[in-house]
C-alpha cells in the first residue's frame, strides 16, 4: 500500500542537480502537477531526459522557462524556441538522441542491460565518438544506458498498491521510464481500490512505484 503525497511534497524529494526522466510527448502524458510543483519550488540545475521540451507554457516547457534546467537529453526541441535560444546562449546543454534510441537507452538502464546495439545513427553525426560493434558483418552503434535519479510518470489510473494504467497516446515514454528511475513518482489521474485494475491491464507493476501523487484535489 502506497501513501498518496501532495505535489509539493514530491517536489521537495528532488534535490537540485538531479537527473529526471519525465514522461510525455509534446505535453501529452506529462505529469503536469509535478512539473508545476517543481517550478514553484524554484528547482535548479536539473537534467531532464524526455522526448521533447513541449512548448513554452506547457509541460516540460515550463521548466525551461523557469530556468530549472541545465541540461536536456531529448529527441526533439523544435517546437520550443526557448529551449533553442537557451541552447545557443549556453544556458542549457542539449543532447539530441534519436527517439527510438532514446527510449531503448532508458529501457536498457531499467532492465539491467549494458547498452543497446542499434543501426540508427550509423554514418551520421549521432555516431561521433561512439563505439561501433560488428555483429555478423553488420555495424551497430553502441549506445549507453540512461538511468535517472527520478522518474516522473503520468498515468491514467493507479490502484492503492501503485499499479498503473495508461491511456492511448499518453503511454509514450511513461511505462519505460518507470523502469529506470532510482525513485519513481507517479501522478495518476484517478486512484482506485485494489482489484479495480485487472492484473492483465497493469502496464507498470506497483512494485516499481515509490510515491503516488494524490488525485487532483478538485477531482477534475
Amino acid at each position: 500500500m502506497k501513501h498518496a503525497i501532495k505535489a509539493a511534497e514530491a517536489a521537495e524529494l528532488i534535490p537540485d542537480g538531479s537527473t529526471l526522466l519525465i514522461g510525455g510527448f509534446m505535453g501529452v502524458g506529462s505529469p503536469h502537477r509535478l512539473i508545476d510543483a517543481i517550478v514553484d519550488k524554484g528547482a535548479k540545475d536539473l537534467t531532464v531526459v524526455a522526448n521533447d521540451t513541449a512548448m513554452p507554457g506547457r509541460g516540460i516547457g515550463k521548466l525551461v522557462t523557469a530556468g530549472c534546467l541545465s541540461k536536456v537529453v531529448a529527441s526533439h526541441i523544435g517546437l520550443n524556441p526557448e529551449t533553442q535560444q537557451k541552447m545557443i546562449s549556453g544556458e542549457i546543454e542539449v543532447d539530441l538522441v534519436p527517439q527510438g534510441t532514446l527510449v531503448e537507452r532508458i529501457r536498457a538502464a531499467g532492465v539491467g542491460l549494458g547498452g543497446i546495439l542499434t543501426p540508427t545513427g550509423i554514418g551520421t553525426l549521432v555516431a561521433d565518438g561512439k563505439q561501433t560493434v560488428s555483429v555478423n558483418g553488420e555495424d551497430f552503434l553502441l549506445e549507453e544506458p540512461i538511468p535517472g535519479d527520478f522518474a516522473l510518470i503520468a498515468a491514467h489510473q493507479a490502484d492503492y498498491v501503485g499499479n498503473l494504467e495508461y491511456s492511448l497516446t499518453a503511454h509514450n515514454f511513461n511505462p519505460i521510464m518507470a523502469l529506470a528511475g532510482a525513485t519513481v513518482i507517479a501522478e495518476p489521474h484517478t486512484i482506485v481500490p485494489i482489484g479495480v485494475i485487472s492484473p492483465d491491464s497493469v502496464k507498470t507493476p506497483g512494485i516499481l512505484v515509490d510515491y503516488l501523487l494524490e488525485r487532483q484535489p478538485d477531482g477534475s
Binding site: 510527448f25 509534446m26 521533447d52 526533439h76 526541441i77 527510438g100 543501426p119 540508427t120 497516446t169 499518453a170
Partner: protein, 216 residues
C-alpha cells in the same frame, strides 16, 4: 493543382492495402486525404497509436489522443495503443511497411538530410533517423526546390539522417527512384518536362526512354 497536392496525391498511390504506414507531420500528413476509400491501411503515429484516425468531432477531443504533431486525432476501430519502445520497436524491427517524410536535401546516392541546419535550425531528429533506418519503404515527399535552388544534390551539405538509400522521392516535378546505379527519373509532374526536372536538379538523373507523366 498546388505543388503540395500533386505530391500528396502521387504519394498516396504508393500505399499498398493492408499495410502499416507512418506519415510525418506537415506535407506528408496530407497523403491520408488522397487514399482511395477501398484501400485499408493502418496509420501509425509514432507517439503511440496504430490506427490513427481523422480529427474528432468538436467537443469530443481527448487530451490523451494526439498525433506526433500534438494535434487532436481519433483512433479507428481496431486501433492499438503502444508505448514508445513498442512504437520504435515496430519501426526499427522492419514492421513498418512505409514511412513518408519531408526532406531538406537528398544526394545522388539517395541519402536524405532532413533534421538540422547547423547554426540555424536544430530541431532534433525526433523519430526521423529510426524511420529512415528501419522502415521497409522510405518515401520522401518534398517540393523540388527551395527558393529556386535544387534540393536534390550531388552531395548533401547538411548532416545526413541515415546512411541508407531511400526508396522513392516524390516532388511536384518528378518521381525519382534512387538505385544502385543512381537516381532514375520515373515520372514527371503535370507541369514539368524532363528538361525542366534536369535543370532544377543538381544531381545527375538517369533518364531511360520516354518518361511518363504522373497520373493523378
Amino acid at each position: 493543382m498546388e505543388a503540395k497536392e500533386i505530391i500528396a496525391r502521387r504519394v498516396a498511390q504508393e500505399i499498398e492495402p493492408d499495410t502499416l504506414v507512418n506519415l510525418g507531420i506537415g506535407l506528408p500528413s496530407m497523403v491520408a486525404n488522397y487514399l482511395p476509400k477501398e484501400v485499408h491501411v493502418f496509420f501509425q503515429a509514432e507517439n503511440g497509436v496504430i490506427g490513427l484516425g481523422a480529427r474528432p468531432p468538436e467537443g469530443m477531443e481527448d487530451p490523451d489522443l494526439t498525433d506526433a504533431g500534438g494535434g487532436f486525432v481519433t483512433a479507428v476501430p481496431g486501433a492499438a495503443s503502444i508505448d514508445s519502445a513498442m512504437s520504435f520497436g515496430l519501426i526499427r524491427g522492419g514492421h513498418l511497411d512505409m514511412t513518408v517524410l519531408g526532406g531538406l536535401q537528398i544526394d545522388e546516392r539517395g541519402y536524405l538530410a532532413n533534421w538540422m541546419i547547423p547554426g540555424k535550425m536544430v530541431p532534433g531528429m525526433g523519430g526521423a533517423m529510426d524511420l529512415v533506418a528501419g522502415a521497409k519503404h522510405v518515401v520522401v515527399a518534398m517540393v523540388h526546390t527551395a527558393k529556386g535552388k535544387p534540393k536534390i544534390l550531388k552531395e548533401c551539405n547538411l548532416p545526413l539522417t541515415a546512411q541508407r538509400r531511400v526508396s522513392l522521392i516524390v516532388t511536384e516535378m518528378a518521381v525519382i527512384e534512387p538505385t544502385e546505379a543512381g537516381l532514375v527519373l520515373k515520372e514527371t509532374g503535370p507541369d514539368a518536362s524532363v528538361d525542366d526536372v534536369i535543370s532544377a536538379t543538381e544531381a545527375s538523373l538517369i533518364v531511360q526512354g520516354d518518361v511518363p507523366k504522373m497520373r493523378l
